[in-house]
């Protein structure tokens, strides 16, 4: 290529590359593109929209020509979506110029396209050079920009839906490594114990040829020889028993440890991940990964893999022994083996599908129960017991149907394996008898062969299971490593600065935060003095919570820096930094345990006196004493039922106890009624005193105490000042305040008219 575009064309989907290079002028470079996968009537079709540094280009695959629009004043590119379909629209001041539809998998690309479009438009209209955001890394696949700490592209990550390959299992080696010595011993034990189990059939050979056959031919039994062989048999059996025990014990020991390591490592890693990660995951899913998946992997290693290894070793050893005794008979014996293995695998496969169906149908039966039992009051209130019973019956009926079908194959399975074994034995019999008649082998050899072969035909069945079990274990392993591979987006500093005490001055310098490609806050500059109380105000989605999350360092800023007492918070050790912060949330979370334990959560070594003092300050002391066991009452899940206000006061006591210099109140009083709010407010007043406080409240009236109010709109600070100043300015805050006051009025009026209505109704 003669030109060197800023944005490599290699990333562009191949089908467009050729066409496009003919379109572009020498010095034009592609900045962003969006692949279109739907046409205007929402039929599947392909197309592309491209933003270059000169214009916007677009083409659908079956269009003849490219449409182009040069950047000019008044051009607008917007995107909206509905039910999983996005719509990208290009306007000029008079009309819509074009629009494109696409599935939402491309939403990141669309956002990026719009971002580039805006930058370029700005540049072409005002001549201002776009801010350089090119420093951040780009995803090699789709070109989306990655924030500094994102290890995986959020666009591609979501599209990565290939079932895991079995090789993932090899990654478990990381956890097996510490136990490699014991694993080696376990392997040797497996080898020995398997060898020991193969001795008895071997001994049948001389027993037959040297004792029994000669006896039939009229010779007396050689008692010494019999004793020798029989004690050999017994010895081998005992040896096999001992070795088998040692092997199983050793390997279970190791596999349990591997499983435990896997579990704790994953959990520890999970706890250190940023808030961002938890935001995108379902709790049940994460719990299942750590609990069930590690257990499945554990079982796989300790049971299935071990069995499989034993079987393989046994088959190899048997083959060697058989060949060493008589190669021809060995060949005949082993030849049907692959065929039988294949047949068994075939049946197994069908069974597996059947069993999966049974699993799913079970889930359905359970779902009916899970639906109905918690909703039993509704069921009874609407007298729908019969219908629910019918629903359960129907689910059960389906369960029966599927089970019947599976059982048809399942009942066939064991007899089939037996039949195949018998057929295999028959072949050996036929060939063996023929060989004996030719005097090529002795009766003893044939007996030994039959004894060997019978053993491993049975094992073929269990071996055939390994395929599906391995797949499942691989899937589980992948899900575990998904967590382990995720790098925390709030990393610990390499050279941390230790601050045992802080003053509580917070400075935000040009703070910007981007979630994926969506910019949430931009250019925030603010200095909060020690002991000052700041109220954050704005509509939902204006970036209040984001700002708080950034200050707590649940997320890291994408631009600028946050400084506490002049130190960038990214240089402070996380745990130490958060000790200086007290957080009171809208929905206080109480752990299962006593009230005292819950109050002391942030400082487990607190004395009883400290706990009581904190509870007193939080106005929680009195209600706690009214509980039957006082501070020892159990709360949290399955514990004492507390009201919202009571829980909130416990969480305030919790924050008070760690005596933080910085306090964050995130909608601390929103979830309670106005009377309770007053109680909590009193508790909060104690808490706020002398601390740097940042409060978010939906009800503006609760923020009157604040020294300054910061009004946010769409991620920017629009106004700063106290209540009176802002009201006097008659700006954004003024409107917000009036709108809220009006709402309260309306609510009250609506309430009154509703009561009047019902009274009127009663009179009729």
């Amino acid at each position: 290529m003669q030109k060197t575009p800023r944005f490599s064309m290699n990333n562009l989907p191949a089908i467009w590359t050729d066409e496009l290079s003919a379109q572009l002028s020498e010095d034009e470079s592609i900045l962003a593109w969006l692949e279109i996968d739907l046409d205007h009537q929402l039929h599947f079709a392909t197309g592309i929209v491209i933003a270059t540094d000169k214009r916007v280009l677009a083409k659908m695959a079956d269009d003849g020509t490219w449409q182009t629009w040069a950047y000019q004043q008044g051009l607008q590119l917007t995107q909206r979506d509905h039910a999983g379909v996005g719509c990208l629209e290009l306007f000029d001041p008079h009309a819509r110029l074009a629009f494109w539809r696409y599935r939402l998998g491309n939403v990141m690309a669309a956002n990026r396209l719009i971002e580039c479009f805006l930058q370029q438009l700005d540049y072409h209209v005002s001549g201002k050079l776009p801010e350089s955001s090119q420093t951040s890394a780009q995803c090699p696949h789709c070109g989306a920009f990655l924030s500094a700490e994102q290890d995986e592209c959020p666009v591609c990550e979501k599209q990565n839906h290939i079932p895991p390959s079995t090789w993932v299992l090899l990654r478990l080696w990381r956890f097996a490594k510490p136990y490699k010595g014991r694993l080696l011993i376990g392997f040797l034990l497996t080898l020995c114990s398997t060898a020991a189990t193969l001795v008895p059939p071997y001994l049948t050979m001389p027993l037959m040829d040297n004792v029994l056959i000669p006896y039939q031919n009229g010779q007396p039994i050689d008692t010494d020889l019999v004793q020798f062989y029989l004690s050999g048999l017994l010895g081998a059996a005992i040896l096999a028993w001992m070795l088998g025990w040692a092997r199983t014990y050793m390997l279970s020991l190791v596999s349990e440890r591997i499983g435990a390591d896997l579990r704790t490592t994953t959990y520890e890693h999970l706890l250190n991940l940023s808030q961002e990660y938890f935001g995108g995951k379902r709790t049940g899913d994460l719990m299942a990964r750590i609990g069930a998946e590690t257990d499945r992997i554990n079982l796989f290693i300790s049971l299935h893999l071990l069995d499989f290894a034993t079987d393989v070793i046994m088959i190899c050893m048997t083959a060697i022994i058989l060949v060493s005794i008589n190669p021809w008979l060995a060949l005949v014996t082993l030849a049907p083996l692959p065929i039988i293995a294949w047949l068994i695998h075939l049946v197994r496969d069908r069974l597996r599908i059947g069993f999966e169906k049974v699993d799913r149908i079970w889930a359905e039966v359970n779902n009916v129960l899970a639906d109905t039992i918690p909703g039993i009051r509704v069921v009874k209130a609407f007298a729908q017991e019969k219908r629910e019973a019918a629903r359960f019956h129907a689910a059960n009926q389906r369960n029966l149907q599927i089970n019947d079908r599976v059982n048809r194959i399942w009942s066939l399975f064991t007899p089939t394996v037996t039949l195949l074994t018998e057929v295999g034995l028959l072949v050996v019999w036929v060939f063996g008898i023929w060989q004996i008649s030719q005097d090529e082998i002795t009766v003893g050899v044939l007996t030994a062969f039959l004894a060997y072969i019978g053993r491993f035909y049975i094992r073929l069945d269990s071996m055939s299971r390994i395929v599906s079990i391995t797949q499942k274990a691989a899937a589980g392993t992948k899900r575990i490593f998904d967590i382990l591979d995720h790098v925390s987006s709030v990393p610990e500093s390499a050279n941390p600065v230790h601050l045992p005490t802080i003053q509580g001055q917070i400075e935000l310098r040009h703070v910007g935060f981007r979630y994926g490609t969506r910019s949430i806050t931009r250019g925030i500059n603010l200095v909060i003095q020690p002991g000052e109380m700041i109220g954050l105000v704005g509509h939902s989605g204006s970036g209040k919570s984001t700002l708080v999350n950034l200050i707590c360092r649940f997320y890291d800023v994408t631009e600028g820096a946050i400084l506490v007492d002049g130190h960038d918070i990214r240089t402070l050790p996380l745990a130490e930094y958060r000790k200086h912060i007290g957080l009171v949330l809208q929905e206080p979370f109480l752990f299962f345990g006593t009230i005292a334990e819950n109050i002391a959560y942030g400082k487990p070594d607190a004395t009883r006196a400290e706990i009581v003092a904190a509870a007193r300050a939080a106005h929680a002391h009195e209600f706690i004493l009214r509980l039957p066991h006082g501070y020892d009452s159990l709360v949290g899940e399955r514990g004492q039922a507390l009201s919202g206000g009571e829980r909130q006061r416990i969480s305030i006591a919790r924050a008070l106890l760690i005596n933080p210099r910085i306090l964050i109140l995130d909608e601390a009083t929103s979830s309670v009624d106005t009377t309770t709010e007053k109680d909590i407010q009193k508790a909060l007043d104690n808490l706020v005193r002398g601390r740097t406080t940042i409060a978010i409240a939906h009800r503006l009236s609760t923020l009157r105490e604040a020294n300054r109010l910061i009004v946010l709109d769409r991620g920017r600070i629009v106004e700063i000042g106290n209540h009176a100043e802002l009201m006097a300015r008659e700006g954004y805050y003024h409107r917000l305040y009036l709108a809220q006051a009006r709402n309260v009025d309306e609510e009250e009026r609506a309430l009154i008219s509703a009561t009047e209505h019902s009274i009127a109704g009663e009179h009729k």
């Binding site: 039929h43 629209e89 009309a95 599935r103 599209q159 839906h161 290939i162 079932p163 599908i353």
Partner: protein, 157 residues
Amino acid sequence: MSATVTYQLTRNSYGRLVLTDQSGVTHEGVIPVRSFPVTDPGQGIALIDSHGHELAWIERFDDLPEAYRVLIESELASREFMPEIKRITKVSGFITPSTWHVETDRGAAVLILKGEENIRRLTASSLMITDNHGIHFLLRDRTALDRHSRKLLDHFL
């Protein structure tokens, strides 16, 4: 039959529907919404404004003047996206996530099924399949599928 309607409906140059009501107030960006998109698409269509407030209710399409009906239907056609699966050509595997190649009434498509729980039974024979981006694919009658598709589908049910 065409009942009288008390509003005017036009499409402006921005491609948005504009509704002018009796009192002469115009609402830009009006969106038609079906109340029962799956079970009874023809019954109960609401016209809502950009804030989600209902402006007008259409009991049946037959109640509308022809011009309005065309306007609303074209808007619906460009909004509604529930491809109906006619054939399943290929699935990448029977372990989810699995990539399906399907033929729909809107052309061939590829969808990624994240888990079996994303297949929802609507009735005994119809299914709703949600792909990884939340797009719903409708399978109106699975007994009417060809043998190959039925067999593939059967693995997931």
